[in-house]
Structures are given as structure tokens and as C-alpha cells.
């Protein structure tokens, strides 16, 4: 298929269709409106169904029903809308239903603004909904990678029977880049038939029930233990990350995800020409976080600089990775302000010159 120039949102929609998704439920919110717009245009062409629900709460519960029937389903929203979906996300995880949720983050808290942000890291990786559950969280840094990760997300969701979130900052949704879709798609996991799905029963098999209610505490505990074992398998098998400028010696390790990692990469490249040496590690899976890889990459550096469009939410995971072995510094912008390569370069210089303040806890 010839390359197309696509907005991130359009590429996410097309990727879902490419992965066999026939159902979309959602509610508009900037800066991801082009996902529902694209799906409303494309799904009827492929025999699918698009529903604009009356709210995100309704949309997320429609996901529950549709996923329970074994179909591949997608929803997308932006930060405040994702908050509204969180009850259903917990139910989806509790009922072990595979869905793909795309969050194109805007600045918060509250209604905030419509410009890009990464301030939903905690919500995505540490909960958001109630109960012991985990989401697989994937964070693309380009439009092509957004298209690729959305397709993988459907396979991972089916494989683990768990919701998977694709987390992009506003730029991922709104910027345009050339994108290519392969002719033949090979799933990234070996997938079993969905024998658990509630597809209507004629008595030839035991009834399938999709449920997250367990009134007997012993049964509920066993259910939670089973889920925990699943999350442990995700941690073992689904860590994804990428390293840049780490083949040569470096004094400082940067940790950043999404488009911010591209900004860092530009800054590092410019500084290399001036003899300042920094490396970059980019978590692609935010849950599971690449703790071991960050620890190993940091071992070769004097210090670590975390760069985010937030007040510094990923710092906690970086600190868990480092276990105090290296000093951690932070550079961030908030409120929808983007960070420029020049600002990152300035931070790198400050840290290396001993002029930056170390992140301290408590």
C-alpha cells in the first residue's frame, strides 16, 4: 500500500481497522476528535459500526458489552474523557475483557486546556479505576509507531484478555507524518479462539458469563490471584523500550517517552556536535516499565535526567529502577506548553555543570 500523509488520529483509526476492529464507541473531545471522525467515515465502508455515545461513561460500557461478545473494539478520548471511563475500565479488567483504549492527552487537571500534555501517566500506569488491576500501556513517539502500536494493542488485549491503553500526547494525535500499512498483518501474539465470549448459546456448550462480581470472598481472592499472575506475565514478557546515542560513552542519561523523546533526541544530537555527551532511553511500554533497562543504561552515566510534559510523574518509576544508585534530575513543561530542544539542551548543560537541583523526595 502506498504511503499516505496521515494525522496521528487518522493513522490510529486506520490501524484499528487494519487490525480487524469493526466497532467504535466514543464521545468527542479535543484533541482526538479526528479518531471518531475517521472511524465514522471508515467503519461503514468495512461493514463495521460507529456509535457516538451520549457520554464517555456510556461509550465505555458499550465497550464492555461489545468486547464480551468477542469482537475487537476501540474507544478513544482525551484526559477528562478518560477519567469518566475509569469505572468501566476497572470492570473490563475485572471481567478480563480485551479492549483498546486510546488516550490523546491534553493538559489538566480538570478541564484544563486542549494543548498537549503527558500528565495522565499516573492514571494510565498506576490505576485510575478501583481495585487491583493493571493496564498494558504503550506510548508511541511517531505517527507510524502509533499505527503499529495500536495494531499490537489489539493482539495484546486478546492474548491477555485485558484492556490495553495507547497513550499519546496531544501532538501524536494532531501532527501529520507519512504512514505505511503492510499488506499482510501478522499478529504479534499467537491468539487462541475466544471460547469465553458470550456469543449466544444453543445448549451445545456451557453458558459463558461475563462478570466481575464475586460475592464469595474466597472466590474473589482467587480471581485476584489469577489476575495478578497475568500481570506478572505481562511484566515478564511485554517490556518495550528503545535506546539512542548509547553506543558511545555518555555522561548523562535522559529518560523520556512519546514526542518528548524526539525533542530530547534532537537536543542530544545537537550537543554531540559540541562535545557534550548524553544518551537517551525511551520507554515504549509504560506498564510494564523497563526498570532493568533503565538501571543498566544509567549505570554508564553520572546522572539521570527525566523529561516530561508533566510535573514529573515518571520520576517515580525511574527512581524505582535506579534504587538510589544515581542522582535524578527533572525538566518539564505543563499546561500545554511544549518543550523545545533548546530547553532540553540547556537542562543537560546545567545538570552536567552541577547547576541543577536534584530531585529529592520527602
Amino acid at each position: 500500500m502506498a504511503k499516505k500523509l496521515m494525522k496521528g488520529c487518522e493513522a490510529i483509526g486506520e490501524a484499528a481497522i487494519h487490525a480487524g476492529c469493526k466497532l467504535f464507541f466514543g464521545y468527542p473531545i479535543t484533541p482526538q476528535n479526528e479518531i471518531p471522525e475517521y472511524m465514522s467515515h471508515r467503519l461503514p465502508q468495512v461493514g463495521g459500526t460507529f456509535v457516538q455515545a451520549e457520554s464517555e461513561v456510556a461509550a465505555s460500557n458499550m465497550l464492555y458489552g461489545a468486547s464480551g461478545s468477542g469482537e475487537r473494539v476501540l474507544t478513544s478520548s482525551s484526559s477528562p474523557g478518560i477519567s469518566l471511563m475509569m469505572e468501566a475500565v476497572s470492570y473490563l479488567a475485572g471481567s478480563e475483557l480485551p479492549v483498546v483504549i486510546v488516550n490523546i492527552m491534553r493538559a489538566g487537571p480538570g478541564l484544563g486546556g486542549i494543548l498537549p500534555s503527558q500528565s495522565d501517566y499516573f492514571q494510565a500506569t498506576k490505576g485510575g479505576g478501583h481495585g487491583d488491576y493493571r493496564l498494558l500501556v504503550l506510548a508511541p513517539w511517531s505517527v507510524q509507531e502509533a499505527a503499529d502500536l495500536v495494531q499490537d494493542a489489539f493482539d495484546l488485549a486478546d492474548f491477555y484478555r485485558n484492556p490495553v491503553m495507547v497513550l499519546g500526547d496531544g501532538l501524536i494525535g494532531q501532527m501529520m507524518e507519512p504512514v505505511e500499512f503492510g499488506a499482510e498483518r501478522v499478529p504479534c501474539k499467537l491468539l487462541a479462539p475466544k471460547t469465553w465470549a458470550a456469543t449466544g448459546c444453543d445448549g451445545s456448550r456451557p453458558t459463558n458469563i461475563v462478570n466481575s462480581l464475586f460475592l464469595d470472598p474466597e472466590v474473589l481472592e482467587q480471581h485476584n490471584i489469577k489476575l495478578k499472575a497475568k500481570y506478572d506475565r505481562m511484566v515478564r514478557d511485554e517490556v518495550r523500550f528503545a535506546e539512542y546515542f548509547t553506543d558511545e560513552p555518555y555522561d548523562l542519561l535522559l529518560v523520556a517517552y512519546g514526542t518528548v523523546a524526539r525533542v530530547c533526541s534532537t537536543a542530544i544530537e545537537d550537543l554531540r556536535e559540541q562535545g557534550v555527551k548524553a544518551g537517551l532511553i525511551r520507554p515504549v511500554s509504560l506498564f510494564p516499565f523497563p526498570y532493568a533497562a533503565v538501571r543498566a543504561a544509567a549505570a554508564k552515566a553520572k546522572a539521570v535526567l527525566v523529561v516530561e510534559l508533566s510535573s514529573g510523574q515518571m520520576i517515580e518509576d525511574v527512581q524505582l529502577a535506579l534504587r538510589g544508585a544515581k542522582p535524578v534530575y527533572f525538566k518539564g513543561r505543563q499546561g500545554g506548553m511544549l518543550i523545545s530542544p533548546d530547553e532540553v539542551a540547556e537542562s543537560i548543560r546545567e545538570v552536567l555543570a552541577g547547576k541543577a537541583a536534584e530531585v529529592v523526595n520527602g
Binding site: G113, L115, M175
Partner: protein, 238 residues
């Protein structure tokens, strides 16, 4: 180039409407013409010409677009200054109309004051965009845009591109397809957009239209430091 008093650039987002509107306005300003650029993009929240306000002002282009916090809103604001500029017989105006036929409704709301006889109303086509992949799509887009604008199109601008991955073949193929669409619509292709690499390969007299050499002005933040940074929340300008 576009000698009429009013130049309106319409087209689906990603076709290059903003880049072309900026190019036309800057070129006019560069020749000493007092020009006002109207940002009528009410559809896409990021990457609008208003974000380049400081840069444009510095280059002598007046910018008519919501200011302050409303500059960042995704609200369908059409400022009174838009009508004033269109009604001023001495004003040279370039309109950057955002989005698709829905976005073009903003233009339709001021169609009663558009001096049709003095207006170039140009649809930008990029055949590498999802909504205009075929000639049929482009004809539908043109008709729907015209209907929403409530004034007829006067020409097409061929701007088929893949940003940094554009090849001369992509540009030429897009031009030929735009010609086909033009013949179906009864509209001339008045210009073809080309990047620096493709520009020398195109001959205006053979093509029978202008060639606009478009240096990409609007870039994502990760491309900033390579170019002269202009600090806006979303923009890098070179």
C-alpha cells in the same frame, strides 16, 4: 501571482492550506504589498497560522485571528475584522480556511461580503491524504467545499506531498491527477506546490501554471533547533 484582491485558500487539513496561505501572504508582503492574513481555521486546534503571528507581523503581514486565550480555543470564532477587511476595497486579503467542508462553513458565514469578481478561491489537493485519495474523492471534496463556502471555486492548487518523504514523482503524479479533477470540474490548476528539491525539475511554461516553491514553515517542536526557533506553544518556524 493571484492578482485579485482576495485570495481564499481552502482544502482538507493536511493538503497544505496553511503553508500555501502563509507563502502567498509572505510573498505579497515581500513585494511591499500591505496584506492581511485571515486565519479562518475553526476546525483543527493545533498548527494554525495564528500561532505564527509574531513571525508574520515581523515580516509585514497583518494577522486577523482570535487573540489571547481564545487563540488556543477550538471555538468557531469569526471576528468582525474579517468582514471589515473583506469590505475594504483597498485591503489585500489572504484567507486560510481550515479543515474540510465543515470547516469551510466559517467561510460561508462571511460569503455575503466576499467580492466574488475580485476573488481567487482555490482548493488545495493532496492525493496522499486519506480523504482525497482518488479523483472521485477530490471532486466530492470540491463540490462539498464550494457548497459550504457559498461561493464558487475559481481554481485548484496541486500540492500532493508526503512532507519530508516527497519525491518529484509524487509531485508530478499529483499534478496530473489535479489536472484530471480540474477538467471534470471545469477549473484550471493555477499552481503546483513543490519543495526545494523538486522545484528545478518543474517548468512553468510546460505545466501552464505557477510553481510555488514551498519551504515548510511549520514544524513540530522536535525539529526546532535545526531551524531558527520561534517560541509558540506548538510552532517552530524556520
Amino acid at each position: 501571482m493571484f492578482t485579485n484582491r482576495v485570495t481564499i485558500v481552502v482544502g482538507h487539513f493536511g493538503s497544505g492550506t496553511t503553508e500555501i496561505a502563509l507563502h502567498v501572504a509572505l510573498r505579497l508582503a515581500g513585494t511591499g504589498v500591505t496584506v492581511a492574513l485571515v486565519d479562518l481555521d475553526v476546525v483543527k486546534p493545533y498548527f494554525r497560522s495564528r500561532s505564527a503571528r509574531d513571525f508574520l507581523t515581523e515580516k509585514g503581514v497583518g494577522v486577523i485571528a482570535p487573540e489571547g486565550e481564545l487563540a488556543h480555543a477550538d471555538l468557531p470564532i469569526v471576528m468582525p475584522a474579517v468582514r471589515r477587511a473583506l469590505q475594504d476595497p483597498a485591503a489585500r486579503v489572504v484567507l486560510d480556511v481550515g479543515g474540510d467542508p465543515i470547516g469551510t462553513r466559517a467561510l460561508g458565514s462571511v460569503s455575503d461580503v466576499i467580492p466574488v469578481a475580485e476573488t481567487d478561491h482555490l482548493l488545495v489537493l493532496n492525493f496522499r491524504r486519506p480523504y482525497t485519495e482518488t479523483e472521485d474523492d477530490a471532486v466530492v471534496m470540491a463540490r462539498a467545499t464550494e457548497a459550504a463556502a457559498r461561493i464558487p471555486l475559481t481554481g485548484l492548487i496541486s500540492n500532493t506531498h508526503l512532507l519530508g518523504e516527497t519525491t518529484p514523482e509524487i509531485v508530478v503524479e499529483g499534478y496530473e491527477r489535479a489536472r484530471e479533477v480540474g477538467s471534470r470540474l471545469g477549473l484550471p490548476v493555477v499552481a503546483v506546490g513543490a519543495d526545494e528539491a523538486t522545484r528545478p525539475l518543474l517548468d512553468e511554461s510546460t505545466l501552464g501554471c505557477l510553481v510555488l516553491e514551498l519551504t515548510r514553515l511549520i514544524r513540530p517542536p522536535f525539529e526546532q533547533s535545526r531551524f531558527r526557533p520561534r517560541v509558540g506553544p506548538l510552532f517552530a518556524l524556520n
